[in-house]
């Protein structure tokens, strides 16, 4: 199969939706008994309305024990760094949308390093670089350069930017990029067209095949997900995300995968659509994916409230952002008007780390090392020098 777009031709949205509603108790009990090892059949059962109504506690218990076995009592922490809010797309749910009259900003080298300095002081070693989609202001060369200047300072750099071609991804990997988050937003092409009105992002197929290009480029990790609230049928959307994950994992078997389950948050200047995914649904979603895929990294963002984040913690979460600013330069200056969406959990990283400790989790700031990337780097000698610096620090 050349790509996921072709693969999906074998699936039908309304059939999948109907199948979810036809699930019986036996299907769910089978899925629980074999701990989700029945593949998509089990995911279908676990995402069904019936599973949510009658088996939520069983799902939660199993999800918790699988997560504990695989990931232990440790939660990885990262921070997003917004490099630019320039965007040529018009999407009706996003603060960066081209028609929004907000000041636009793209960080310079000095500004990037200033943000980096603050994030380092806060304790972060894993960062996620985020931009809007503007080939002119934030093309692949800008991104590669940003990664190169940040690489000596952070153990792990991921990006969440516009979909690129395979060669561009290879260029970013060489610069030191570890992972790419590329959320499909919705797998329902009709809803997708309704919310993505102008710009390159209107191309559903190009976006859908992005993880294939990433797999071909050999990236370490691919982040998948839907933005819940774009389609009324969240269960089918989630099922498609599971089908995507299963397809990718079998095809690009050396890559690891992460997923997150964002729900639409308010942002500058728009009346927000109602989210049809309540907290109970979110718990089901999270547990269903953990049981379906024991190794999946599951990220929980500051979009959700502090209380909910704490309650979701034992149910399958492996990674959290903390103290996030969703505007370029946000750590240096507090200019909230440029933000992509407003966050709900605004506790500082330090407070989040303490909360984790109090709940019996080890907050993990570093779970990668630049030595892992060194063989593919373009500037090996420079990195080696940096390492001798490490040794001096160690000796002290």
């Amino acid at each position: 199969m050349p790509n996921f777009f072709e693969f999906l031709k074998g699936h039908n949205w309304s059939d999948c939706s109907r199948n979810l509603h036809d699930i019986g108790s036996k299907d769910i009990e089978n899925a629980l008994a074999r701990e989700g090892k029945g593949g998509i059949t089990d995911l279908l059962a676990l995402l069904s309305p019936l599973a949510g109504q009658r088996y939520l506690e069983e799902l939660a218990q199993l999800s918790h024990s699988i997560t504990l076995k695989r990931f232990g009592q440790a939660i990885r922490l990262f921070a997003p760094m917004y490099l630019s809010n320039e965007c040529n797309n018009v999407c009706d749910y996003c603060g960066f949308s081209m028609h929004n009259k907000i000041p636009r900003k793209t960080l310079s080298d000095a500004e990037i390093l200033r943000e980096a300095g603050i994030l380092k002081k806060l304790g972060f070693d894993h960062i996620l670089l985020v931009t809007g989609e503007s080939t002119k202001q934030v093309g692949v060369d800008y991104l590669a350069h940003a990664i190169e200047i940040l690489h000596p300072h952070f153990a792990n750099i991921s990006v969440e930017v516009q979909p690129l071609d395979t060669e561009s991804y290879r260029q970013l990997i060489k610069a030191g990029m570890h992972a790419v988050m590329v959320y499909q937003e919705t797998y329902d092409s009709i809803s997708y067209a309704k919310h993505h009105l102008k710009g390159k992002k209107t191309n559903f197929r190009w976006r859908l095949n992005t993880p294939d290009r990433l797999g071909n480029a050999g990236v370490y990790k691919i982040g998948l997900g839907c933005l819940f609230g774009l389609t009324q049928d969240w269960r089918t959307d989630a099922l498609y995300a599971g089908i995507h994950l299963d397809y990718l994992e079998k095809k690009y078997w050396k890559t690891s995968y992460s997923m997150s389950f964002p729900r639409i948050r308010p942002y500058e200047g728009e009346n927000i659509v109602a989210v049809d995914l309540d907290d109970r649904d979110l718990v089901q979603l999270l547990c269903a994916f953990r049981i379906f895929n024991h190794e999946l990294e599951i990220t929980l963002s500051t979009r959700e409230s502090p209380q909910l984040r704490e309650n979701l913690l034992p149910l399958g979460i492996t990674t959290m952002s903390a103290g996030s600013k969703t505007n370029p330069g946000g750590y240096t200056e507090d200019i909230e008007s440029l933000e992509q969406f407003s966050i709900s959990d605004d506790r500082s990283p330090d407070k989040i780390a303490n909360m984790l400790k109090n709940k019996g989790y080890d907050p993990v700031w570093k779970d990668w090392d630049f030595s892992y990337d060194q063989h593919k780097m373009t500037k090996v000698e420079e990195r080696t020098d940096d390492h001798s610096h490490q040794k001096v620090l160690l000796a002290n």
């Binding site: 076995k69 890559t255 080890d362 090392d369 030595s371 892992y372 001798s388 490490q390």
Partner: protein, 257 residues
């Protein structure tokens, strides 16, 4: 108590229980667990280690103990990456001991036999004390021995699975044939699994998940220490052979006496 040290690369260890440091809820719990285990060899993932002096609950503790630090290359996908990480670990953590782990598959973390063999050969040439994590493959273990490994670390079952010695029959062949210490790594989910490993003649076991995710890791540390000691003593004292059927009370060859 019998004096029965384990020798690896000319160094003696009293404890036959190695401990992995991932998945613990805090550095303090890890510390207490290791003390209770009396383990002398503790692995640390290079990707988790933070030798820059920033907050690192694992290294802070380990660098002040008498335990030997065994950096591992967990996270690398091929021999080339492993060699880079090994060199970095040697410099940053100041040890030439290395647990070589190459798993290109992030799902089940299955070790790549081809890349592991290549990396072992190269790293041994570069002066590393290489302890490769590998499948319970008897031929591969002999090849690793030829390539210069200082011990072999075949898996009991997939990492983190707690399934015990699913590879039992092959482990027995490896133990029978090996000139190197055989450390059973991965899948040991409870003290009885560890005891069994030592009973069948393994030199040591490496345990992580079963300790880290126990309700009370320090107490589980004591349980594992005792199980490993019991298993070793059972092996040394000579286990009776097992029989599928009861022994006939009227043997067919009795007339020969």
């Amino acid at each position: 108590m019998i004096t029965d040290p384990l020798e690896i690369a000319g160094e003696s260890f009293h404890s036959r229980l190695f401990v992995g440091t991932g998945k613990f809820s805090s550095g303090e719990i890890l510390q207490e667990t290791i003390e209770n285990c009396q383990s002398e060899l503790v692995t640390v993932a290079m990707k988790r280690a933070n030798p820059k002096g920033l907050e690192d609950s694992i290294l802070d503790f380990l660098q002040h103990k008498t335990v030997r630090l065994l950096p591992n290359t967990s996270g690398v996908r091929d021999a080339k990456e492993a060699i880079f990480v090994a060199q970095m670990a040697r410099e940053a953590l100041e040890t030439n001991w290395l647990k070589l782990e190459i798993h290109p598959d992030p799902k089940y973390l299955m070790p790549d036999p081809v890349e592991t063999l290549l990396a072992t050969e190269e790293l041994a040439k570069q002066g590393f004390i290489v302890l490769p994590y590998c499948h319970a493959d008897p031929v591969l273990c002999k090849r690793l021995e030829d390539a210069g490994a200082s011990a072999v670390m075949p898996l009991g079952s997939p990492i983190g699975s707690n399934r015990g010695l699913d590879s039992r029959e092959f482990l027995k062949i490896i133990i029978e044939q090996s000139n190197l210490p055989v450390v059973i790594d991965a899948g040991i989910g409870c003290p009885s699994h560890a005891a069994e490993a030592l009973e069948i003649g393994a030199s040591a076991v490496l345990v992580n998940t079963a300790l880290a995710v126990a309700n009370d890791p320090p107490v589980m540390g004591i349980a594992f220490r005792k199980a490993v000691e019991a298993g070793r003593l059972a092996f040394l004292s000579g286990l009776g052979s097992k029989h599928e059927n009861a022994q006939a009370t009227s043997p067919l060859t009795g007339f020969l006496n």
